[in-house]
């Protein structure tokens, strides 16, 4: 439990660092940093219940996308503002590094395994983000279409 809290805290501060680099300012800075911590909490919670490597990453990706879309809607800011820093802790840096290390030691099967693992993790995160973002686009365009249709009907009658 203690290590989990440390992991979430370090994810928060790492995201904060990235948010500063991208010049996010004011209250958005805190909201963006929270996005990174939130993603990692979702990963840990899902990881505790499910016996799978890909599903927790998928859930984490979907949850940061959901978080940033809701924050974007609430504060009238672009979702990128929160998604970009929040995405960073999920990047499978460890998997890439281990693959690269195996490659440097001449362990080709270890390298291939590591790269496949990286692709699995990265793919799951991206899939989660794509799913949530698409869903939000659908909702937005759906609301817009219904509104314009209603306006047209009113004008005709």
């Amino acid at each position: 439990m203690g290590s989990m809290i440390i992991a979430v805290l370090s994810a928060f501060f790492a995201t904060l660092g990235f948010a500063i680099l991208y010049n996010v300012r004011g209250k958005n800075l805190f909201i963006a940093s929270l996005c990174g911590a939130f993603g990692w909490i979702c990963y840990l919670v899902c990881d505790a219940f499910v016996d799978s490597t890909m599903l927790p990453y998928f859930v984490a990706g979907a949850s940061i996308a959901l978080y940033s879309e809701i924050a974007a809607y609430a504060f009238h800011s672009p979702a990128t503002l929160f998604l970009t820093p929040g995405f960073i802790p999920l990047v499978p840096g460890g998997a890439v590094y281990r693959a690269m290390e195996a490659c440097l030691q001449g362990d080709i099967s270890g390298f291939a395994e590591g790269m496949v693992n990286t692709l699995k993790i990265g793919g799951s995160i991206v899939l989660g983000i794509i799913l949530m973002s698409s869903l939000f686009r659908l909702i937005r365009s759906g609301i817009k279409t219904v509104k314009t249709k209603n306006a047209k009907i009113k004008r005709h009658s």
Partner: protein, 251 residues
């Protein structure tokens, strides 16, 4: 809607805004969408816009007359705060008509917007390096080493940018400096968890804006813009791997 702005002025405004969205790290789709909205709101019959990460092409059409402007985005300077402000400015001018000079004044004000001091920039690099070293399983020593190496990577990157090196070289140099500096640190901390610290500091070089914009471009079916960004991201990854490869010489 009738507008007091001439076609030429509208074109100038949408070009200035679209250019800034792409430059400050917005998605191609956001630029296209914003340009179309503003153009329509200011009385253009048709707005044709094509945006990728490096260029912007806009044609506005009114009463059978069309005008075109292009913008080339040669250097991306990610600044999400300015992106946010440009976004709210375009919302504002879409909902209430504003005259040309006021809009241009607001755009210039946004350009002058605040940025964090260089010292805080160094601190941010150090914070990322230190926090990620802990995140990937390090302890107190890893945090300290990651903190200082992260701060030094800022100087390496700024130095490379000062010499106007291509991004590929910048990233390779950053990665090479990271592994070398951590190797030096192992002389002072023999029990250092090298892999945790190295991964942690290397995370600084992750092109976050490129990655998220790439995903969002694909969601918005802007495949041309998305594919270009995938290639750029892959090139950065190869550059980092090449830099890490330097560690072969330190064994």
């Amino acid at each position: 809607m009738q507008s007091s702005l001439t076609q030429r002025q509208v074109l100038d405004i949408v070009s200035a805004i679209g250019y800034r969205i792409l430059r400050f790290g917005g998605e191609a789709n956001r630029a296209e969408d914003t340009v179309t909205r503003i153009g329509r709101a200011y009385g253009m019959n048709e707005v044709h816009v094509f945006a990728i990460a490096t260029s912007l092409l806009i044609t506005v059409e009114k009463d059978g007359e069309s005008m075109t402007q292009t913008r080339r985005i040669s250097r991306v300077s990610t600044d999400l705060d300015k992106l946010d402000k440009i976004n709210s400015l375009s919302r504002k001018i879409c909902s209430a008509e504003t005259d040309f000079d006021t809009i241009m004044y607001h755009i210039r004000e946004i350009d002058k917007g605040p940025q964090y001091s260089p010292l805080l920039g160094i601190f941010a690099y150090a914070l990322v390096g230190g926090s990620f070293s802990v995140f990937f399983g390090g302890g107190l020593y890893e945090f300290i080493v990651g903190f200082f190496v992260g701060a030094l990577i800022r100087f390496v990157k700024k130095g490379a940018e000062f010499l106007q090196s291509p991004p590929f070289v910048t990233n390779a140099a950053g990665a090479a400096a990271t592994v070398s500096l951590i190797k030096i640190c192992t002389f002072f901390f023999p029990s250092l968890n090298i892999s945790a610290t190295t991964i942690g500091v290397l995370m600084i070089l992750v092109p976050g804006v490129l990655l998220t914009n790439c995903i969002r471009d694909f969601v918005a079916t802007d495949y041309t813009a998305g594919t270009a960004k995938i290639m750029e991201t892959l090139l950065v990854a190869v550059a980092i791997a090449l830099g890490v490869g330097v560690s072969v010489f330190w064994r």
